[in-house]
Amino acid sequence: MNLKNISTSVPKKDHKGKVSGQLPYISDVKVENMVYGVLYRSPIAYGKIISIQLPTLPEGYEAVGAEHIPGPNYVKIIKEDQPIFANEWVNYIGEPILMLTGKDLDILYSLLNEVKVEFEEHQAIYTLDEAIKQKSVSSVLANYEFGESLENISAIEQGAHQIIEEEYDTGYQEHVYLEPQGMLAVYKDDEIIVQGSMQCLYYIKNALLSALACGDDEVRVVQSPTGGGFGGKEDYPSMMACHVAVAARAVKKSVMLVFDRSEDMLVTTKRHPAKLKYRTALDKEGNILSMCVDIFLDGGANVGLSSVVLQRALINSAGVYKIPHFHAKGYVLKTNTVPNGAFRGFGAPQSFAGIESHIGHLSKLAKIDPLEYKRKYLVKQGDPTITKGKFRDPILVEEMIEDVLNVSEYKKKKEDFQRLNQQNQRYKKGIGTSLFLHGCGFTGSGERDHIKATVKLVKSKDDQVSLKISNSDMGQGILTTLCKIVAKELDLPFEDILYPYPDTKEVPDSGPTVASRTTMIVGKLLERAAKKLKNQWQTGVEQEIVEHYVHREMIPWDEKTFTGDAYPAYSWGVNIVEVEVDTLTGNIKLEKVYGNYEVGKVIDERIMKGQIDGGLAQGLAYGYLEKMTSKQGRIQQKSISDYGPPTSLDVVSIESKVFDNPYADGPYGAKGAGELTLIGGAPAVQAAIEDALQTSFQQIPITPEVIIESLWMKEGEEG
C-alpha cells in the first residue's frame, strides 16, 4: 500500500505474530546449552557483608558473584554507584549479591534458600521524609537550583497580600509491563550475545563493555519482542544484562534470567515518590506575584537516572504557566529502598500533579473557576520558559481548551453536578481539568552531546529497504510508524520496508527508546536518510545511507546554571475528567474522560489513539487507583491485584482529538507523543474528585482511604 496521507492508519507490522502468540518473547526462547540464573538478594536494607557461605553445589550448578566480573563492579549508567553484584555494602532489600546457575529451577530455588550471608546491619533510611529531615551531603544524590533570586522574591513576598504554602506528596508507580523482565546471554567462545526485553540497546552494550572489559566485537545486544516497557526497561535491563553476561562468561554456558511477577514488583525500578513544596505570594484579587517550588525525589538506594528525572521534574515545575518571579530547587535523596528510575513522563507527572493541584487551590482562593484561572497564566508563543529558553512554536492550547469545553459541556455539567450533589447524599459527581505539556527528546543538549544519534538505511540488491536503528518497539508501534515515514519518503509500499528487531552488530547507535524522542528525532533522521536514498536510488544495487543528528538552533542549555532551551519542542494536552465518588466508601468511578492533544503531526492515527488510551489509563490510575507502599524498606504490594492497575472495568471510553501543528524539525511535522498522554490523567482526576467533594487534597493517589479520612475521620465523626 502506498501512503497518501501519513496519518492514515496501516496494519501493524507485528500484528500477525502477536495476535497468534507465535512471536517469541525472551521467555519463549530456549537455546542449546542453556542454564537458568537465579539471584540471591539482600534481605536487609543497609549493611555490610561479613561473609558469604554457599551450600555444596551439585554438579552443573555454579555460583557467580563479584569476583567473576572482569571489569569494574558497577552497572554503567551515569554514576558508578550501582554494583552488579554487591560485595561490600548492601543498600536495599533485594539488591543482588550473587547468582546461582544450573539447569533446574526447582533445584536452584532450594539452593538459594541454603545460601547464608552474614551482615553487619546499619541504621537504614526508609522514607523520603526521613531523608529530608536528615538531609546531609552524603544523602543528596543530585540537586539543582534556578530562577529568580531569593532576595527579589522575598521583597515581593513582603508586599504581598497573602502567602500560600502547600506541601504535596506523590506515591510510587509500578510499570506492570505485562511481560516481566527477562534477559538471556548466549555464550559463544568469541562472543556473548545478550538478548531480551529492553528499550535501550546501546545502554546495555556500553554497560557490558565495561563489565566484561572486552572488545567491541565480543558483545552483541539483540532486542527481543518486548512486552511493554514504559521506562521500566530503560535502565533496569542493563543490570540484568550484566548479570547474565558475567555469568555466561564464568560458567561458559548460555544463561537465562526471567523474573517472576513478584520478584519484578519487589526489586525493579519504579516512579520516584516525590514531595513538592509550593510557596506563592498573592495579591488581593488572588493573582500570583511570585512562586517558589522545592522538589524532593526519593531516589532509592542508587542514583541511576534520578538526576535526569529531577531535571525534567524541575523544568516542568511551573506547568504550562507563565509565573512571574519563579524560583525552583530540587533534590534527589538517597533512601535504603529499591532504586527508582524511568517511568513514562520521567519526573513530569509528579510536577504536573503538583502544580495543577496548587494552581487549582489558588483558583479557589481567588473564587474563579480553575480553568479560567489557569488560562490567565497560560504560556504563549514567544514567551520565555522558566529556564530562560523560549517557546518558539505556535501554541494551540487555547483552541484545544475551547474545543474540549464544548465537547464535554463543561459549564453545564458543573452546574448540573452541583444540583445533583445536593440531592444525592451518597454519590457525588465532579468534573476536573488539567493542562500540560511534554518536552520532546532529551533534556538540554543531551541529543547533541551524549546521544549523537546515527541512523542507517540499507537497500539490498533486490531493492528492499531496511531500517538499521537501535530503537525498540515495545508496543508503542515504531516498527510501523518509522517504516511509514521511510515508505512515504521513498514512495514505496509500506510493506516493502523492513525493520528487523535491532542487533547492535547490525545497527548504529540511534539512541535509546526513551524521552518521546524516537518518532521526532530518529524519525527525522530516517526521513532525511530516505530523501537521500531516493535521490541516489540505483535499481538493483546495494546501497547504504547514514545520517547523523543535527541540533536545532536554540539557546544553549547550561546544566550548571540550569538555563537555556531545555527542549527543542513541546507537545501539549488538555484533559477533562468526570467522576462519581461514593462518600460512604470513598470509591471513585470514572464516568467520562476527554483529551485534546497537539503532537505536531500524527504519524498513524490508530497508533496515536492507542497511546492516548493507554497513557491515560496509566495516568488516571496514578491519581487514584494504583498504590504502592514501602515499609521498613520492603515493598508491600507484590502481586498485581494488591497493587491494582486498572482492569477493563475500571476505564471508560475516551473522547479524544489530536490537533495538527507541524513542527519543522520532526518527520512530517511530528513531535513526541508517548509520554504526554500519561501526564494529564492524575491532575484531572484530582480536580474532579475535589470538585465532587468540595474539598482539597495534597497528595496522589487519592485512594478511598484518603477520601474517607478527609471526609469523616478528621471530623471525629467516628468513635
Binding site: 501493524k12 497468534s20 502468540g21 521467555s27 489513539k609 488510551d613 491515560l616 489509563a617 476505564v651
Partner: protein, 155 residues
Amino acid sequence: MIKFTLNGRTVETDAPATARLLDLLRDEFELIGTKEGCGEGECGACSVFVNNLLQNSCLIPIGSIAGADIQTIEGIIETEQFKILDESYSIAGGVQCGYCIPGMIMASAALLSKNPHPSEDEIREGISGNLCRCTGYNMIVEAINLAAKKGDGLW
C-alpha cells in the same frame, strides 16, 4: 501418566500432578502462545479453554485435567472465529506490546461463543480478568464489538 486432549490431539505426560498446565504447555508441548504474566490468576495471559471454558492455566494442576479437552491459542488459529478476531483486532488497533493478546483473544472467543452480541459492559466484564497495560482496553473492546458484528452467525 496423565492423558488429555490438547488442541484436538490425545496427549499424555508423566509430569507430576501438581505441575502447572501453563508450564506443561510451554515446556513440554512448546506452545508458546500461552504466556505467563503473573502465575497467580491475576493477569489472564495464560488463558486457555478447559472443556470450552476459559480458565487460567497457571492455576491448573495437571492432575485435575485428566480426560479434559484443552485448547490453546494454537488450537484455534485455524478457525474462522480466530480469523475474524485477528482482523478485528487489527482494524481496531487492539494490539500494542502483544503480551496480553493471546489471552485476550481466548477471552474474546469465550465471551462471543457464550454471548454473540455483547453490550459494551458485557465485553468489559468478559475481559476483566485479562490485564492489558498498554492499550487502556478501549480499542480491544472495540475489536470485540467489531468481531461480534463481522462474525454474526459464527459464534
